[in-house]
Symmetry: C2
Subunit: 337 residues, 2 copies
């Protein structure tokens, strides 16, 4: 089913408010979830509101968020166990402010948890004509290359660059699959793919339940594992535990750079746009699809959602959210007409 973007946003706000989040925090979370739905990442959208609600009921809304240390180029922020959607926005915005003033800004956020799509934050910097890098470490569920013990998170990294076209946004995790995907496959009874996971004894498994008791494997052999380590260490620098054994102990790292310190910003954006155009205009493999630049697909989906004014949502999720809010589906629907 489809619901209006406005309704989706209001539902997100209402669920967060019901969990005790202040109005500004509730709006920050809802904006992120709705954006995820608009760019086609349904799983990172309103379904996440229910998972967040569960954690928020245990933890409370968190806070205060404090700046532990700050100078002209760096800042260390303590999230006070506030959710990562809120602390990441604060962290990215701080890095943006530092970079605008000093050319470069590096910000670490500790004592916080789950933050959604990293692309959301770095793209925010790129739309303000800055280059951004952002990485986080997450709950230990992934084994090292050649290993079977859970040491690493699914540890994503993201980069964004301003362009005279849409920003170039690169955002990916460093594990063979995600925890959410394994949970989903368990739920739907679908086998995993080869190379995704091992069971508790370290044997390769295609069974989602065995994988949940075992470990996910890293992506990309030594190169992917190297990046997984990079994300883990930037997380440690930001104040996470060495091995993140619990939700509430992630480390978020943000970097913003002003390209204007190296060349005229308009010229830089023109060249990034030229590169994107060269790539998309180049020959695809015989019989292949046109070539895309990362960030382009999300942008097209977002524009389409904006034009429609609606986002798709799983009907069961929709009704679960209404139930969470203590609303009757019939009433709501009636109220909408």
């Amino acid at each position: 089913m489809d619901i209006s973007i406005d309704e989706a946003r209001q539902l997100g706000i209402d669920v967060m408010a019901k969990c005790g989040l202040p109005a500004d925090h509730a709006r920050i979370v809802a904006d992120h979830l709705v954006e995820a739905m608009m760019v086609g990442r349904a799983f990172a959208g309103l379904p996440r509101a229910l998972a967040l609600a569960e954690t928020l009921k245990k933890k409370g809304p968190g806070g205060p968020i404090t700046t532990v240390r700050e100078d002209a180029t760096t800042a260390l922020i303590d999230g006070g166990d506030t959710n990562g959607y809120v602390t990441s926005l604060i962290g990215m915005d701080k890095a943006i402010a530092l970079a605008k003033a000093s050319g470069v800004g590096v910000v670490a956020v500790r004592n916080t948890w789950y933050s959604g799509r990293l692309a959301y934050y770095v793209e925010r910097a790129a739309r303000q004509d800055l280059i951004a890098f952002h990485t986080v470490n997450t709950t230990a569920r992934v084994a090292p290359l050649g290993g079977i013990d859970r040491i690493f998170g699914t540890n994503p990294l993201a980069f964004a660059f301003p362009s005279e076209r849409e920003p170039v946004v690169v955002d990916f995790g460093t594990s063979a699959t995600t925890w959410g995907e394994v949970l989903l496959r368990k739920h739907t009874g679908t086998p995993l793919e080869e190379g995704w996971a091992v069971d508790e004894a370290g044997a390769p498994t295609l069974d989602a339940a065995s994988a949940l008791a075992g470990a996910i494997l890293p992506w990309g052999e030594h190169r992917g594992f190297g990046l997984m380590l990079v994300a883990q260490i930037f997380g440690i620098l930001s104040g996470s535990k060495v091995v993140v054994d619990d939700v509430g102990d992630f480390g978020f790292f943000f970097l913003a750079i002003d390209p204007g310190r190296f060349m005229d910003v308009a010229e830089f954006k023109r060249r990034v746009g030229d590169l994107a155009g060269t790539v998309t205009g180049s020959r695809p493999a015989p019989g292949g699809a046109p070539i895309r630049v990362p960030g382009q697909g999300s942008h097209a989906k977002r524009e389409a959602a904006r034009a429609r004014g609606t986002v798709p949502i799983d009907e069961a999720v929709y009704h679960n959210i209404l139930a969470e809010l203590g609303r009757d589906s019939q009433d709501t629907r009636a109220g909408q007409t």
Copy 2:
């Protein structure tokens, strides 16, 4: 065959001096080549001196190297078409100096070419208790994901982190294979591996000669291609052309961060060491080898070379270098006993 580390270094210096490099530049290049041989990267060692000599004979030694713009956190350096071994050392050292003074340093080097192993530069920063990131774009020989036209270089990226153990050093290219490897396979008549390259018409090929006329493919599907774009854009920021169609137009990007702005440096190094120890001490897959942390293998090889006092070198390469220097092998060998 094996030669002493001292002889290897002197040969490197002599070849570079013969190409007109000033003494300090000749030593910088030779130190890098010898280090590569010590860590087991034979191909990046003295064989490279011959390739460098060929380019230097065409280009001359380059220079002067000038700082175009500099402030407390950033610097832009023009290499004056000097080789990248020299300009990268200057670039990394400038980023190190900026980070020590300001917490973060970002340096771009333009108008320069080929620089060897990126690990060499970032490890230099990590040994001074800094975190480093370094990336370069190189001559266009790699197609975009789904494409067949040469747009990207083999675009490597490298990170290094200080540790109470050896630094953690991650350094890899973003193409399925390297240009050097394809050349080597052509030379030895060995077929390529699947997924490495396409021919001029864009058809997959295992033939090295066809690949040299076609394009290398990117590594790692959308994730690897994303990183290839990241390296390309940081190169563009540093002053390369949008598509690097010639040697002499690379862009080198250096970032150094002082971890002391976020936590006590000794504590950070202890935690990075803890992570490395947790990884290497964790269970390998049943029947598998012990788990390693990137940078560890190179370190062990370097220590072994130091203890032996020698490095291995291909006999033909050794004689080619002597010939380049106009020396008779017999004389040199006699001089050694």
